[in-house]
Subunit: 282 residues, 2 copies
């Protein structure tokens, strides 16, 4: 199995409203829980009780389309509100992410790292020291995880920042984006992922669910083609429609029914009938 | 800060329906996320996307009532469906729980362990080897965490098992409860917590949210009095009513408003007005 480490702050963890997009159920996609793999369901990265849709689900969904019959695992280690200083080598977040990745790597091969962070450093001239800190982190992760060539996909901060709500505080996001772009272009096996056209929740800082689906697709484009993604992809909306209409497998249908039952949305009788129907269908 | 390790299977993780009980917001209660502490909100133990109310929130709430001005942290490591064999010394769950506890113990003192497990071992005469496995686990945890005397509270399996739904498969839960009771009585600093009177979700296996609140209170009774709890507590319903009517602090009110806003239930304008109101009130 291949695995992908998710690190950064809230927009990597995901704050898109879950009810705003079609759910992604896919038995080829797993997420790390208690050091082991579970079938993926959003929220993938439960750093907060308000965690929602991030870029990882559509990234993984796109991956499975290119890898029929194979599995991918997501290692959620993003932390809302974290600054680059909190991702120092000896900080909790970095050490914990390495620890989680090592559990995952007992049963998978680390194939990539998705990074999205910087809103918490978009003020007070922090961009001036951001590059060195980011490069130090990437070097440290690759060393500690013994994955010197693992590709790192670096997402740009939302162009909607600096305008409204909580986003207003991110007055220097353009400078951070400049640094991000520079790091991606100069550092080996690092790829830039544009946030062009993505929109925000009413808080003005968190990428909305629909945009996160598009963002994940762009992260996958960068990963799969090993290239920077500087522009909106042609097929983003078309892909989302196709993904939403994907026919579920039998296991995925059982997963959906089990979810509904576990949340009290079905009686045991209804659940049993639905399960029989799933099992009897081809 | 004191901390509490939560281990076992789904009824420790929590599957009570969140909407069935009054939420517990309390700035003295924290939960471990990414190796650090966050203010607690349910679900505390996100082993599955359907995780809900377990015993930990009311345990911690009761603790804070006895420790004004102090803080407590919850370390969620319970894993739905896990059998005692999956809690072997070299298993993922045990190693991961130790790893999480060690992160927590960098900034807290481990004060107790809450254990609830056994539904997955309530068939096939597994009870015959359960005692040795449980004792081996407890010994190993205390050694690895350098906490030889840390109290372990062991919750009884629900008396509703063996009857309906998924609970039907737990045909030997009484034998497991016998073993649990024996371990609690004979092992040092282990305390038994009865499940008398607790009721289940429609699945017949998961303790419902209201019962989990009561269960947590019993776990706290065992912990705080260092004694077995063999019977229903007199004050369970009264306590729940009192907890539900507790006046929130300013920080807790801000947390509630922030949650609503983060979930898209308030516009930025509404959120700002509500926040002003909180800040202006005493």
């Amino acid at each position: 199995m291949k695995s992908i480490l998710l690190i950064g702050q809230s927009n990597m963890a995901g704050r898109g409203f879950i009810e705003d997009v079609s759910p992604i159920y896919n038995e080829q996609i797993h997420m790390l829980r208690n050091g082991r793999w579970q079938m993926m369901a959003e929220p993938i990265n439960p750093d907060r009780h308000v965690s929602g849709v991030g870029p990882a689900a559509s990234f993984a969904q796109a991956w499975t389309e290119d890898h029929p019959g194979e599995s991918i695992g997501l290692i959620p280690c993003a932390e809302g509100g974290s600054s680059i200083d909190e991702w120092s080598m000896d900080g909790f977040l970095t050490r914990h992410a390495i620890s989680e990745a090592k559990f995952a790597m007992e049963t998978s091969e680390l194939a990539g790292i998705l990074w999205h962070q910087g809103e918490s450093d978009s003020y007070g001239e922090r961009y001036k020291t951001y590059k060195d800190k980011l490069l130090t982190l990437f070097k440290h992760l690759r060393e500690e995880l013994k994955a010197p060539d693992v590709p790192i996909m670096i997402g740009e901060l939302g162009h909607f920042l600096g305008e409204t709500g909580f986003g207003k505080s991110a007055v220097e996001y353009k400078q951070i984006n400049q640094v991000i772009s520079e790091v991606a272009r100069t550092e080996g096996n690092c790829y830039f992922v544009t946030s062009k056209g993505l929109t925000a929740n009413p808080d003005g800082i968190h990428i909305d669910a629909l945009s996160q689906r598009r963002f994940g697709l762009r992260y996958y484009e960068a990963f799969s083609k090993q290239k920077h993604v500087f522009d909106v992809l042609d097929n983003e909306h078309e892909w989302m429609e196709k993904a939403a209409n994907r026919e579920l497998t039998k296991n995925e249908k059982i997963f959906v029914q089990s979810t509904k039952f576990a949340l009290g949305q079905l009686s045991f009788e209804e659940f049993s009938i639905n399960l029989s129907n799933v099992n009897e269908s081809k």
